[in-house]
């Protein structure tokens, strides 16, 4: 016989003894004699004397009554222990470690096209029928983390509900973490049993069936992550596996990212890597979408196990979001598409300081068609009256005006001036001609050889300060670019035509002029050519939030949750592919998560062998002949109570 109740004997026994003592005391109180006044006790004395011969029976009845009361109490206490008739062995502690990784979403679970996870759920629900009433079961969901879905419970309904509510994610499975969690949960419990429910597309860690050594020096840590790399001890634990299986063929996108060109922020390039995890050669068509617009499609042939990289250069900046998809799709669709975000281009705030230069304004307007610009115009007199105007801009453009002190960083500065007095070391040039143009983002595409200049300036060049001559007139620098103190400066040693000037140049009439302006502004703005990080599902990402007090993230499912911030860092664990929107105070940042895991794209089920021991399906050995006895005990208790009531009223018991 086994006992259903999880109450330990050491706990149950004192309470049972206390109940017995209380019942005995109650019986003694019940049998306490009541006093009655009678007119003549002599008659009673005569009657009692007659009955002296039967006194032994009377005493015996009292003992019988007491024993009957204790028997009733014992029946009730036994029923509380939940005895089971016919069960083999004692109560078991079972951990269901359910694989909820991305491969479980493959739709090759069965011929009907159900996912591997759906098939596994059905198997687990059937398995619950083999649990005994005395078994305590814990359900753990395993992907990048291991999350308990229940506590240790006996109630099969709770277990079934937990299994039904599980869902596969897009994150890879951290089996090592899952096994350690299961092992720790089973520590100290009776008859520990571990059932690993998976499709078999796992990388099993090193496991040992021996008890862990007491000496902690034998433990090894990963040099980078610090994780314990020693074999996981599953000593004393019966380990089984429930598998749903599947096919092996899969071609997936294991890398996809995009960046702006450093030299041309208006253009960007993308990178895609495919991996054929199957055992046969496959052909796929890769289609790249900018937003919802396909911008590229190409066919790729992959041999078994081959990785193919594709670069998409000079993609137009049609959208900030790129998407790549494979077709035809296979059973594992999660890695058949990926997303990438193009780094955003913030609007340049430009302050134009000029008396009146239509050419400059026109060039800036043309540039505004290409890039986001916020233009502000001031006269030199207004600027001189309030130089702090420059602090609210990204670029200050001085037209034929040089302030006494340049605007402070980080504002970039562009100057058109032929005034030699405005720049120490400058010499006037008479009718200069551009003879030499340096390859530079400023001068890209600018043809200046046939531009006429009435006059100009020979600009001083300080190579030690990193000055770059953009173009020369023979040996005289006519335009210099400098990067200093976190900002950039371009000085053009000539003035643009204006109503108040006699001499000028015909550069504004040339195509080179707007190119020169755009090139300069692009050079000023083109600092953000980095990639937008593409996160891998299941990988924890630390995000710096030095000033934000709270960070919220809205996932691809639209649900918003708060991320805890510790020491200026928030941690994001993307479990699903898609775009995550992080709100840090007033700042909103987007991030992308893809599967991007060659390991997870390998969805071929593998034989599950732990430490040279193949894992078999569980045989929980539930006997159909088991019978819970608490019901019959309660019925017997009630019947005896009724019988004792009847006996008591006939004074057979007292």
């Amino acid at each position: 016989m086994t006992w259903l109740s999880p109450i330990a004997w050491s706990t149950w026994l004192p309470w049972a003894l206390a109940c017995v003592a209380l019942a005995t005391l109650a019986y003694l109180l019940k049998t306490r004699r009541q006093r009655f006044i009678v007119p003549f006790v002599g008659l009673w004395q005569r009657v009692v004397e007659e009955r002296q011969a039967a006194s032994w029976w009377h005493r015996l009845k009292r003992w019988i009554s007491l024993l009957l009361a204790l028997l009733l109490l014992c029946l009730l206490l036994l029923a509380m222990r939940g005895p089971i008739w016919g069960a083999r062995g004692g109560a078991r502690s079972i951990v269901l470690l359910v694989d909820t990784s991305a491969s479980m979403r493959a739709t090759d679970g069965d011929a009907a096209g159900r996912t591997r996870f759906a098939v596994l759920q059905d198997q687990l629900l059937r398995l619950t029928a083999e649990f005994r009433e005395s078994d305590a079961v814990l359900v753990l969901a395993m992907d990048a983390t291991t999350t308990p879905a229940t506590q240790f419970v006996n109630d099969v309904a709770i277990i079934r509900r937990a299994i039904t509510n599980l869902a596969a994610t897009d994150a890879p499975a951290d089996v090592s973490r899952g096994l350690r969690a299961a092992r720790d949960a089973l520590a100290g419990r009776a008859n520990p049993t571990l059932i690993i429910a998976t499709d078999g597309a796992l990388t099993l860690p090193s496991v040992t069936w021996q008890a862990p050594a007491q000496d902690s020096s034998q433990a090894t840590e990963h040099p980078m992550s610090g994780a314990d790399q020693s074999a996981i001890s599953l000593a004393g634990i019966d380990v089984f596996a429930v598998t749903s299986g599947g096919e092996a063929a899969n071609v997936g996108i294991v890398a996809f990212s995009a960046r702006r060109y450093p030299s041309n922020a208006n253009a960007h390039e993308a990178f895609v890597e495919l991996y054929n995890a199957g055992s046969t050669a496959q052909r796929r068509t890769i289609t790249v979408f900018a937003g919802d617009t396909p911008i590229d499609a190409r066919q790729v042939d992959l041999a078994a196990g081959e990785r193919v990289r594709q670069v998409y250069p000079k993609l137009p900046a049609l959208a900030e979001r790129l998407r790549v998809e494979l077709s035809p799709r296979d059973a594992f669709v999660t890695d058949d598409s990926a997303l990438a975000l193009i780094p955003p281009r913030p609007a340049q705030r430009i302050l134009l300081v000029t008396r009146d230069s239509l050419f400059l304004e026109a060039a800036l307007l043309a540039y505004a068609e290409m890039a986001p610009v916020v233009l502000e115009k001031r006269t030199p007199k207004e600027y001189a009256a309030d130089p702090s105007l420059a602090t609210r801009t990204d670029v200050v453009l001085f037209d034929d005006y040089v302030p006494t002190s340049l605007p402070p960083a980080p504002a970039h500065v562009m100057i058109f001036s032929a005034d030699a007095a405005s720049l120490p070391g400058a010499r006037p040039l008479v009718r200069p001609r551009v003879t030499d143009i340096t390859e530079h983002p400023v001068t890209r595409f600018a043809a200046l050889g046939d531009v006429n200049f009435d006059d100009g300036l020979r600009l001083p060049v300080d190579a030690g300060r990193g000055d770059v001559v953009l173009f020369r007139s023979v040996r005289d620098a006519m335009a210099v670019a400098r990067t200093e103190s976190g900002r950039r400066l371009v000085w053009f040693g000539f003035a643009l035509p204006a109503p108040h000037r006699q001499s000028a140049t015909d550069l504004p009439l040339r195509v080179a002029f707007p190119l020169l302006i755009a090139g300069t502004l692009e050079w000023f703005a083109g600092t953000n050519t980095a990639y937008v990080a593409v996160h891998r599902t299941g990988q924890r990402q630390r995000i710096a939030v030095p000033q934000a007090t709270d960070v919220s993230v809205t996932g691809p499912d639209g649900k918003r949750r708060i991320l805890p911030v510790t020491d200026g860092w928030a941690e994001l664990l993307p479990r699903h592919t898609g775009i995550y929107q992080l709100t840090m105070g007033e700042q909103v940042v987007q991030a992308v998560a893809n599967v991007s895991s060659g390991e997870e794209s390998m969805i071929a089920p593998q034989p599950l062998v732990l430490a040279e021991k193949p894992l078999t399906p569980p045989d929980l050995g539930r006997s159909s002949a088991t019978r819970a006895l608490w019901g019959p005990l309660v019925i017997l208790f009630l019947a005896l109570v009724a019988l004792e009531w009847w006996w008591f009223h006939r004074r057979w018991t007292v």
């Binding site: 006093r35 006044i37 007119p39 008659l43």
Partner: protein
Amino acid sequence: MVFGLANRGGPASRQSDALARANQRDELFDERFVRSLEQLHLVSRRIAAGSAMAQRRTRKLGSGIEFADHRQYAPGDDFRYVDWNLYGRLDKLLLRLFEEEEDLSISFLIDVSDSMLLGAPPKVHYAMQVAAALGYVGLANLDRIAMLPFAGSLGERMPPTRGKKRIFHAFEFLRTCALGGQTNLAAVTKSFVRQANRRGMVVVISDFFDHQGVEAALNTLRYHRFEPFLLQVVDPREPRPTLRGDLVVVDAETGEVQDVTVSADMLARYERAFLAHTDGIRRYATSRSIPFFRAATDVPFDELIMRIFRQGGFLR
């Protein structure tokens, strides 16, 4: 509530409850009771008219008209009473003796001990009503009656009195006499015979729950030429008390206790013992020609009186 007293509180408190109930005697002798008495008197006269006139004649020889006996003539006796017919036959001078017409003295010994305070209504109330009813009949027959409550000894008494109107005095006396005490009938009768200056009938109204028995008391009365008349008052539940389980029974008078476990068998035995006790008194009384009546308090007192009248022993 089982027979006896409710099982709440101690014996002392329960006994005081019984005494308090027994002391509620204001309604004992109400108008209805008085009307009943008059009816009883009428009935008693009818019954007495048909009964033997000599049953209640005193045996004292006197100047009555009823011939009683002869005796030898002695010089100086009245010649008018010489029975000349007998002289002619026997040639002897014999005087005729005549019975004395005299009123009867009826003494009512009413048990007011603690055991009589039990019952619903208290047995003492019933005893008082019966005593008052019989006393009225006696008064109506020009007898002298006296009321003598007793327990362990004779209490304050109502002296012998005559006349029907004196019945109210008897009512008042019975309403106010003290109650309670432990029964000692033998001592009571001894006191009574010492104090009584006239022989007569002694009506003992009691439950006869006396640890010393009643025989000695009856013998005392008989020896001193009183005519005992026994009336046992019982509560109808006394033979069959509604008790159950393990109990401690406490004597209402002595406080003596006895542990009992009351079962159906025990109750049957008790009933037999009770009846045996009562029958024992009856047999003793009958064997000595002492009228004995047993009455339950649920029998209306007038019915009891009627039964007494019909069976005789009280009316003359």
